[in-house]
Symmetry: C2
Subunit: 202 residues, 2 copies
Amino acid sequence: MTAPEQIQLENIADSDYEIFALLKQRYSPRIFKDRKVTEQHLHQLFEAVRWAPSSNNLQPWRFLYAEKGSEAYEKIVDNLTESNKTWAKNAPLLMLTAFHKKTDQGKENFHALHDLGLGLGGMTVQAQYMGIAMHHMAGLDHKKAQQVFNIPEEFHIVSAVAIGYYGGELDDLPQKLQKKEIRERRRMPQNEFAFKNRWGTD
Amino acid sequence: MTAPEQIQLENIADSDYEIFALLKQRYSPRIFKDRKVTEQHLHQLFEAVRWAPSSNNLQPWRFLYAEKGSEAYEKIVDNLTESNKTWAKNAPLLMLTAFHKKTDQGKENFHALHDLGLGLGGMTVQAQYMGIAMHHMAGLDHKKAQQVFNIPEEFHIVSAVAIGYYGGELDDLPQKLQKKEIRERRRMPQNEFAFKNRWGTD
């Protein structure tokens, strides 16, 4: 089964209200097409982040990416949790995400982590538009990665992201993950997180 | 001058690489059309967040919104900084954003703030698709807001967002903000935040 079929059959969001197609079709695969992400597409991905909003326009997002086959790629893999390692190496590109901790006045920028997420939200949509999937991973040893890549202390590593064109085969995964790959996707209903006028559900 | 003209003349992102139209046209206005956000559109906005990815699918995002004219709306305004107050009341809808601090195991969820941003990134694109603008504000008294709305301690308020259909008139703003509204938008170049194989610029 190829990824487009999966989108059609299993992975497309079973949304309660209609949402924009690129958001509805997005998911976080563990398989990818065996194809290098082009340099042009990479630039377009980062350009999408670039024009995201951020607190005081500080643009605290930072990224370190590496292509499959490079030494840097293996170094990123080394920092992933064991369970992420089993599938993330299917991706032609791996990326570390980080944020700059301080404002221009040297104060702590509380919103930097939020703004990194906001930027990645835009990147994810740009990716989807180009047929590229992004699978965010919280499971990594961020302290070790910081050390291995000599990342200055004023930055904080947040996640690793597996990036590649939608595609690949379910057989690229161990049996256990094949089931996970096509299982139903679940979300809490809106009334549990969006409140009108006062906090909490009625 | 109306907002579509502004987009065409001034506010559209002067991007170095082509990006998806909804990302390119997005900006953070201080003026809005004098029109209520429909309930259907509100549901679609929250649905876009709902299907965003989050660490361990914890969906830590929470929102409290209020319509212009309501008591809750005025309570949100009261918590904004003076400079945000001057324009935010142009918006037909104001929203507080927050995240759930803990995992299901009661541990601190470091990624919650990032995931709130990621969800809002999707919401922003859904909004843009429907002609709705979102202006994120870091400038608010989050402790006071937490108290005024009786928000439990396990949640952390992050930002306020002004939401409404693109439109309105520049004259809706004080002179000083009119200039700000149409000034050139600037961003750092890609090579200052996206690094290949190793950290930092060459």
